[in-house]
Symmetry: C2
Subunit: 133 residues, 2 copies
């Protein structure tokens, strides 16, 4: 009943993660190629930490919002300890605010679309009533 049967610490195999998130192992390796995840190696085999899992989660969440991998990478980079100098830090703040604005735009878009769908539902149900003549 344990997801990491043979592993001592919290770690995952590539196929475990693939199955959990409904993606292929090829996809996960592709993300590694693009520098989004860097799992450890036990010999030649990839071993994923809980942090790696979180990164995957963030990537897929970004995907659902239509973000590119580069954009997701940006968001992930915003998460870890801002290690830069003062200028880098203020630019980071700007980028964060920029993302925030983008997300707010998406919220507005969603509201409008949901309203449209409400209307569509109404019209369709009306058309259905017409059919019951």
């Amino acid at each position: 009943m344990n997801a990491t049967a043979t592993n001592s610490a919290d770690s995952y195999s590539i196929s475990e993660l693939a199955q959990e998130f409904g993606i292929t192992t090829r996809t996960i390796r592709f993300y590694e190629d693009k520098g989004l995840i860097s799992p450890e190696r036990r010999g030649q085999t990839r071993v994923y930490s809980p942090e790696d899992r979180v990164r995957l989660k963030l990537i897929l969440r970004g995907k659902r919002l239509g973000f590119s991998l580069d954009e997701s990478r940006e968001i992930i980079d915003m998460y870890d300890p801002a290690h830069g100098n003062l200028e880098q830090l203020s630019r980071l703040l700007e980028r964060i605010e920029s993302k925030r604005e983008q997300l707010r735009q998406q919220q507005r878009d969603i509201e409008k679309m949901l309203a449209q769908l409400d209307e569509a539902t109404a019209r369709t149900q009306a058309a259905l009533k017409e059919h019951s003549n």
Copy 2:
């Protein structure tokens, strides 16, 4: 001061729409190729109606939400008079509800991302304070 200087009714040229929405004319023609817009022709020239403009708006809104052109087409199709038979109508209702669920998922994703960005802001500001030593 009129957007449709030489036109009698409400209509737009391809470059007017391109400029208004910040896209290229090539993009608009591409959407036409894909069957998302079907402007009239005055001779060989495309003439866009207000309805065409709305369609464009919906497409671009979909884009901002990461929807493919096919998905946007679906949403647009949901808007016009549901002309089908009873079975088609109920399937339409299902598709609408499906889209609605997808949008709700996006709302949740956005909430979580915004929370992450809040944390990121806090950490970055903390790092900035460290710098003022």
